[in-house]
Structures are given as structure tokens and as C-alpha cells.
Subunit: 208 residues, 2 copies
Amino acid sequence: MRSYDLIPIIKNALLAMFEHFETYLQANADFTKEELKQICAAATARKLRRRQFILQEGEICRFKIFVSSGLLKTARIKEDGTEYIMRFTAENTWTTDRESLENQTPSKLNIEALEDTELVLFTRAAAHELWQTIPTFRALSDKLIVNHLDASQERIFMNISYTSEEKYHSFITTYPDLFNRVPLHMVASYLGVSRETLSRIRHAQLKQ
Amino acid sequence: MRSYDLIPIIKNALLAMFEHFETYLQANADFTKEELKQICAAATARKLRRRQFILQEGEICRFKIFVSSGLLKTARIKEDGTEYIMRFTAENTWTTDRESLENQTPSKLNIEALEDTELVLFTRAAAHELWQTIPTFRALSDKLIVNHLDASQERIFMNISYTSEEKYHSFITTYPDLFNRVPLHMVASYLGVSRETLSRIRHAQLKQ
């Protein structure tokens, strides 16, 4: 059942969010029309304003989250209070705290909107139900998990082997669009490079 | 079909490797006796001497690899020729190059024995066949993938947020046994910390 009551939202905008999500699903797997209808019926739509959270540390993560438009930041706070950015999630990509969602344990993560953002959400129960009834949806979820694993392995290699300059260069060539939407100190936090170092690298590059 | 011809190996030692693997399987999922027999029949056993490779960069990865005894190092070479260690795989754990194995693409990884090592191997075809016929084996594989993903996320957080001292401390407390089996320069490579820095940290710690 779609939930229309989370925040006031006009029906047309809501429909647009689901249409966008359906387009994504059709582009990424062979779903029947009936399956698409079933998947969307199991989801809820939600809008976040910039700086609103969909998950905060200590809560149990409630949703698998698809971003229809906008941008989310997933971050984790170190014991000393410093925030480190685990990932950015832009249009047509997914995020969640898998561990918290599946094991129903308190999350270590904060997921916050960096822009006004439109989401399509699946509860754990809804996702598991769809996996049972729609093998293609299960296969798509499995593909997302192994893609995330492969990307994580690449990022670990970058983390341990790249110089700060190489990390910066890799980020701006891999995510040119994101680089223009995110403040430099957040890029530094994502890369594990100090803000000062990244400013210096950027300044040197702009001078060239 | 078990392959007995890879290197000369006495039959008793081979049986011991499979017995060890069966014990692992029984401890980690509810397999029937028939399923255990079927899984082991689909595998091959292999021994590696220290410094032998089971996968080299440029090859297409052929196996899902279970370590019965011994220790493997999975490494990737940066363009400048420096080796970085992606993971260590000790007894009762698995490794492979998932991307290369599933997509049949050339691997970027080298997997090498750091000690005399005993392996149980599954080809891609054998693994896929088992996934189809034994749902519990599929569930175990899925569990290994999400465990690897969760561990990768933890490692990324460590990579971007920990000081060199914290990385060293985390390694020796998380893997005390491994720390005694692996030379310090390999620990440095795994952590993404320079050999000199790690020596200095260790020296300071030993002095305390």
C-alpha cells in the first residue's frame, strides 16, 4: 500500500516519482507490466527537504531506499565526533544500511538529504515479499549487492594505494556531476584526505 | 568429479581436506548427508606450496576457493609496480576474484600461498549447478557475499577515518593470529600505511 501521509505532497508529484522509478526498473530488468504494478504498489514515496534525515545513528534502518531525484549523503561519525562520508546516492541509485535493515540492529549511519530529494521506499517486509514472488526483482537486488561489493573492493584498493592527488583526480573524473553538487570538504571526507590537503591539491590544479 | 592429478598428493591427505571442508559446511548451515556428499563430489582438492599462485593477474579466475589449511594472500599491483594487499585468507574462509570468475574477464589480482596451503575448489559451472540444486548452498554463498560487503564497508570506514596508529591497533586486536603469521611489510600494505610508519608505530608500542 502506498503511503500518502508521510508529508503533504500533491498526488501528481507522487505519481511522477513512481513513473520515474518504473522507467528505472524497465531499463534495468525484464519486468512484466503486472510485476511493475506489484513492485510499485509495495513501495511508498517520500520527499525530503535539504538537511532532513531518512536514517539517524542509533535507529533501526526501516527502508531500502531508491533516489528518484536529488542527492543523499550516508555518513558515519567517528568516536571523536568527526563525520566521515561512506557514500553519496544520486538519482537512479539505491542506498540503505543493509546490516541494520536485515538484522534489525541499531545503525551506525546517518542518511541525510543534501538537496531536496524524492525517494521510493521499501520496508524490509515488502522487499522480502517481492523477492519471494518476483524472481526478477530478487535477481536485480542480488546484482545491486554484488555491484556494491565490486565497487567497495575498488574503493579499498584506491584507499590503500592512491596518493591524495590520485584520489582527487579519480573522484572528479569518475563523478564529474557529483563534484559540482557537493562541497569540497565533503569530497575530502569521502576520500579520507584532510580538507587542507584537498584544498591545496585543487588550488594547484586550478593554477595549471 | 574430484581431480587427483593436479599435483602428486596421497589419497589420505586429500580425504582429510574434504573432511575438514565437510566439518566447516556442517558448522555453517543445515545440509543433509546427501547434500554434503553432492557438494564435495563437485569440488576438487589442491595443495599449494608456499609462494605458489592459484591466480595470476591477466588470467581469468577459474575457482571459488576454500582454504582448508594454510594462508593465501590476495594482492593487486598498482601501475608503478607496488603491490597492495586486498586480503588474507586463512583456514575456514573463502576467496576468489568474483568479478573475473562471474564475468569471465581477466583478473587484476594475484592469489598466492604464504604458507603451504590446502584448498577445496569449485569451478564457476560447479558452483552454479550447486546453487540450482541445493538452496542451502545458495543461501550460504549469499551469506558470504553480504558478510564480505559488510566487512568491506567497515574497512572503508577504517581506511578513511583511522590514524595509522588506530589501523595498526585494530589489525592486531582483530587478527592476533594473522599478525604472527604475516611479515610487517605485508600488514603495512594491507592497511595502506607506509612500511616506515608501521615500523615506527610498532617500535613505539613495544617500548611502552
